[in-house]
Every structure is written in structure tokens, then in C-alpha cells.
Amino acid sequence: MPWLEGVLAVFLKDWRSEFRTRYALNAALLFAVTTLVVVSFAIGAFGISGDLLAAFLWVVILFSSMAGLGQVFIKEVESRTFMALRLVARPSEVWAGKFFFNLVLLLGLEVIIIPLFFILLNPRVSHWGGFLAVLALGSIGLAGATTLIAAIIAQAKGKGALLAGLSYPILIPLLAAATSGTRHLFHGDGGAGQEIQILAAYAVVVIAAASLLFEFIWNE
């Protein structure tokens, strides 16, 4: 299918480029590992409640993604390749390719963050299936929203502040549901079924909104 081939071409180009420059990965990983290590030292042997651990986990994921995922369009503008991409690629292929790149990058980050989080802070999980579902759906929503917002702010001045300023209001429902679901699973006080439904709906809405809006953002 030509559309999928275009998406794959953008995805592979971004990975090849990331593999050679480590532009996004280093920024995100540095933030995640530093924060986890510093907080675990600060807490020491006292430990913290499941409520705080759930919030802390999603704060680390959120800020790591802000440090890394936003680069996907900003880098195209700063290296002046944005125009070449606009000339050759269909908007939907660009969005989907960059969304999958960000999603894989985020999941890759989580492969490092989550084991480190469990080693350093030792939370108890009552239902691993539910925990992985919250993590996966939260990541899809986070990658989708961040990719869309990164495209909006890519050509603006003061990109870093804008990305944070525009993202947080949009990400609040996702973060609330993800933190609440993770809290239930850390407490063992029931499942996270309702939160998983909210996260799934959020992911669908973000992807649908991006499909409708991206072409206008791209062509402006």
C-alpha cells in the first residue's frame, strides 16, 4: 500500500537519523534516569505511598517525553529540512510516520524507565496486565498528543515553553486517568478498568483529531 510505504519511509528515516545523532533519546533518557536516581536517594529507606509513586512515575514519563518527543518536528525546522519534507510528503504520512517514531521512542524509554523505577522504588503491582495496559494506552495518547502539538509549535519562537504550555492542558485528562489507574494497581484496591477505558478513548480521540487537523497545521 503506497500510504503505508510513505509512513514507513518517514518512520525509518527518523530512526536512522536518531540512531546517528541520539538527538531525542539522549535528552529524554538523561532526564528520566537523573530524576529517578535523585528521587530514590532523597526518599532513602523511608519509602513513599502508592499514591505518590503513581504520580511520580507519570511525572517522569511526561517530562521525559517533553524533552525527547517534541524534537520530531523541531529538528526538521532547525535543520531546514522541513521545506524538503513539505514538498515531497503527504501530510497524513508525515504525521503517522512521526507518531509511530515517537511511540516507539517512548516505549523504548519505558523499557529502561520502568525496570529502574521498580528497582529503585520497589512498588507492588496487584495486576500486571492492567498496569501494562495503562502504560501502553497512556503512551499512545501521550505520543499522539505530543506529536500533534510539536507540529503546531515547530515553526514558532520559544518552542520549549510553548510545547509545555500547550501540552499540559491537553494532557491533563490523560495524566489524571493514567495516574489514577496506576494508583489503584499499586494499592491493590481494585482494577483500573474505568481508567483503561478513558485512556483508550483518549487515544482514539487524539488520533482522530490529528488525522483531521494535521493537514491544516502542516500547510500553514
Binding site: 510513505g6 529540512t81 521545506m83 524538503a84 515531497v88 500547510n219
Partner: protein, 212 residues
């Protein structure tokens, strides 16, 4: 590589084109035509709107007023579709420095949905004098080599309209000769050329448009 038609029936028509950025008027009521197989050279001082005009012609920028029509065999192509039929070189455009020359061309061919073999890509690189540099990272190139690679990018899909913003910049005499040869070949195929900026580029077109 598929052989293009000997002479394409392509013309460019611009009517009452006006561009403003806020209160600043860049140009007003610009009208001109580029007939089949011909070229137009746009001249003017810095800030007169040459690059802006080329961006409008490409379809990347919507004009404040007026219309650009790319006619192919009597049919007007939409601005969105026009993007796929133009080749554009401008100092504002760069290729991926962390990829090799061939990786760049392969990526652009895939998103342009072109069927290109390695031999096609090598032939294209030979045309712009970069045959031996296919496996080198673009970031290691001199500015003249990057300019020639941009020309390869611009003609890879056999465009109908070639927009050349300062095509001779950063080129030495041999580089200029290569670029001039490629442009002459494109004109022979019926590709319309619109170029800026210095005296050497006057040779690229029969017509001249002076912006104030």
C-alpha cells in the same frame, strides 16, 4: 527511469498576484506567463520578493491575492497537487545531513512514490557530478556539493516546473557548468524554469521579470 515525453505541454500563468506580510507590501498585482518550454528570470534587489514569489509559485505559500495556474495539457493543477510537480532549490531548503547521499535520494523517492533502482539513483548523482559520493554523509559535503545534491533532489521526480532560487550560489566554475548543463537539459524536455537572481542566471530564461 521512465522516459519523459519529448516536450511537455506545460505553461505557467500568474494573475494579479499580491503579497503582504502584515502592513508590509511585498509586491502587488503581478501578472505574467511562462510559455511552454521557456524560462523566466526574476531579478530585483534584496527584499523585493523574489524568494516569496518562488514560494508562492511552488504552492508552499498562499498569496494574499491573485492566482497561480500551472496548466498541464490544458488542465489546471491544484496548489496541493502542484507541490508534487515542482522542483525547488532555495537557500532555505536543506537535505538530511545525518543521512548519506543515497539514503536521502532513496527516502525522497519512496515518499514521492517513485520506482527508482540503485542504478537510477547513481545515474542521477552522475548527472550532478556526485557519482563517487553516494555513500558519504551529506553533512561532510562542501556547500557547493550540497547545492548540486539539491539539484538532484529537485529533478529526481521529473518535475514540470523548476524553481531555482539562487541556483548558482556556493558553486565554483565547474559546479556552475554542471548546473547549467542540467538546466539546459530540463528545458529541452519542456520543463518550465523560473530562476533568480544574479546575472549568470539570466541565461536560464528567455523572459525577465524585474521586481522593485
Amino acid at each position: 527511469m521512465a522516459a519523459p515525453p519529448a516536450q511537455r505541454e506545460v505553461t505557467l500563468s500568474v494573475q494579479t498576484l499580491t503579497q503582504r506580510f502584515g502592513p508590509n507590501k511585498i509586491f502587488e498585482s503581478l501578472s505574467f506567463e511562462v510559455p511552454k518550454g521557456q524560462g523566466l528570470v526574476v531579478t530585483g534587489p534584496n527584499g523585493s520578493g523574489k524568494t516569496t514569489l518562488l514560494r508562492i509559485l511552488s504552492g508552499l505559500l498562499r498569496p494574499t491575492k491573485g492566482e497561480v495556474r500551472l496548466n498541464v495539457a490544458g488542465k489546471v493543477i491544484s496548489p496541493e497537487e502542484r507541490l508534487r510537480h515542482i522542483g525547488f532549490i532555495t537557500p532555505d531548503l536543506a537535505l538530511y545531513e545525518e543521512l548519506t547521499t543515497l539514503e536521502n535520494l532513496e527516502f525522497f523517492a519512496r515518499v514521492r512514490r517513485l520506482k527508482r533502482t540503485k542504478a537510477d539513483q547513481h545515474a542521477l548523482l552522475e548527472k550532478v557530478g556526485l557519482k563517487e559520493r553516494g555513500r558519504d554523509l551529506v553533512g561532510t559535503f562542501s556547500s557547493g556539493m550540497k547545492q548540486r545534491l539539491k539539484l538532484a533532489f529537485a529533478i529526481q521526480h521529473e518535475p514540470m516546473l523548476l524553481l531555482l532560487d539562487e541556483p548558482g550560489s556556493s558553486l565554483d566554475d565547474s559546479g556552475r557548468a554542471i548546473v547549467e548543463g542540467v538546466i539546459a537539459e530540463q528545458k529541452k524536455k519542456g520543463v518550465l524554469i523560473v530562476a533568480t537572481n544574479d546575472d549568470r542566471e539570466l541565461a536560464y530564461g528567455e523572459g525577465k521579470l524585474a521586481l522593485a
